[in-house]
């Protein structure tokens, strides 16, 4: 199934949509239970390992991504709101192994929504960036609506 990625630049958001050939309850479990999350959350060649997960509003998920060279990067995902089998919102930060947040690093706000479809389940992820100047800059800069279309002859240019 195809992953759709779009950007809402005015609001500094990235939106990711994907349909899964599985019942909503299963998809929900895969996004909210540590033994399942650990199996897929890390993009290869990294591996995710949960230290603790308490999936309730006000709870959090503390996990490490381990790289091929053994580098461990810790993240803290705080659960802000949860609508069972429908959606949940989180704030994701970098931290140390005890969950102490690193304020120098970017913070992301996530909204994950789950919908039943004919084929199974559609998940819509909305990531918005707040604290990170670099990301703001990048999103503001060349990629405002209109920039790409203004240089819409890019394909032609590339053929030259």
């Amino acid at each position: 199934m195809k992953t759709q990625i779009s950007k809402d630049l005015q609001n500094r958001k990235l939106i990711i949509k994907r349909e899964f050939n599985a019942a909503l309850e299963s998809v929900w479990s895969a996004w909210t239970e540590s033994n399942l999350l650990d199996q897929w959350w890390a993009p290869k060649p990294w591996v995710a390992k949960t230290k603790s997960l308490n999936f309730v509003e006000g709870g959090n998920w503390l996990y490490a991504m381990t790289g091929p060279d053994g580098t461990k990067i810790w993240s803290l995902v705080e659960f802000i709101s949860i609508k069972q089998n429908s959606s949940f919102q989180t704030i994701s930060s970098f931290c140390d192994e005890n969950g102490n947040k690193n304020s120098d690093m970017p913070i992301m706000n996530w909204k994950n929504e789950f919908f039943t479809t004919n084929k199974g389940t559609r998940v819509e992820v909305e990531i918005s960036f707040t604290n990170e100047k670099d990301i703001e800059k990048i999103i503001e800069m060349g990629f405002e609506a209109g920039f790409t279309s203004a240089v819409g002859n890019l394909d032609e240019l590339l053929l030259k």
């Binding site: 199934m1 992953t3 990625i5 950007k7 990235l14 990711i16 994907r18 899964f20 050939n21 599985a22 299963s26 998809v27 479990s29 895969a30 399942l36 199996q39 897929w40 959350w41 890390a42 993009p43 290869k44 990294w46 991504m65 790289g67 580098t71 990067i73 993240s75 970098f94 120098d104 690093m105 970017p106 992301m108 990531i127 990170e132 670099d134 990301i135 800059k137 990048i138 999103i139 503001e140 800069m141 060349g142 990629f143 920039f147 790409t148 203004a150 240089v151 002859n153 890019l154 240019l157 590339l158 030259k160």
Partner: protein, 129 residues
């Protein structure tokens, strides 16, 4: 510990993906609205320094500064034809900028392919396998 660029990639951060692929200054270059306007103008047709300067309500000095930044980061090139200097766009460089979401997309596709497997396993378990 400060994560390196590779870490950022694994942490779905667009900004640092770009950093690991190309020089940051390309992005700084197009972070400025005047410079974006210059790119758009020159992408439409090649222009001499004078025609670029005439297209803006800014001092020639200011425009020249912007153009130099665009030249330095490789988005523009300066050519000579006869006695005339003119600027043209470097499409490949511009395309790199335009494709900034690609690494991010790839990361999510990898991740979701793994998730498909997890979901398949769940299904098999439920079916009593």
């Amino acid at each position: 510990m400060q994560p390196n660029d590779c870490t950022y990639i694994c942490y779905r951060l667009v900004a640092d993906k770009i950093n690991s692929i190309m020089r940051r200054d390309v992005f700084q270059a197009i972070a400025d609205p005047t410079r974006r306007d210059i790119i758009v103008l020159i992408a439409k047709k090649t222009m001499t320094p004078n025609t670029v300067a005439d297209s803006f309500d800014l001092s020639r000095q200011a425009i020249s500064k912007h153009i130099n930044i665009l030249l330095e980061c490789g988005l523009l090139s300066l050519n000579i034809e006869g006695r005339e200097y003119y600027y043209s766009i470097e499409p490949k460089k511009l395309a790199e900028v335009n494709d900034w979401l690609d690494p991010f997309r790839k990361m999510w596709e990898d991740r979701f392919t793994k998730l498909d497997k997890v979901l398949n396993n769940l299904k098999s378990k439920k079916n009593g396998k």
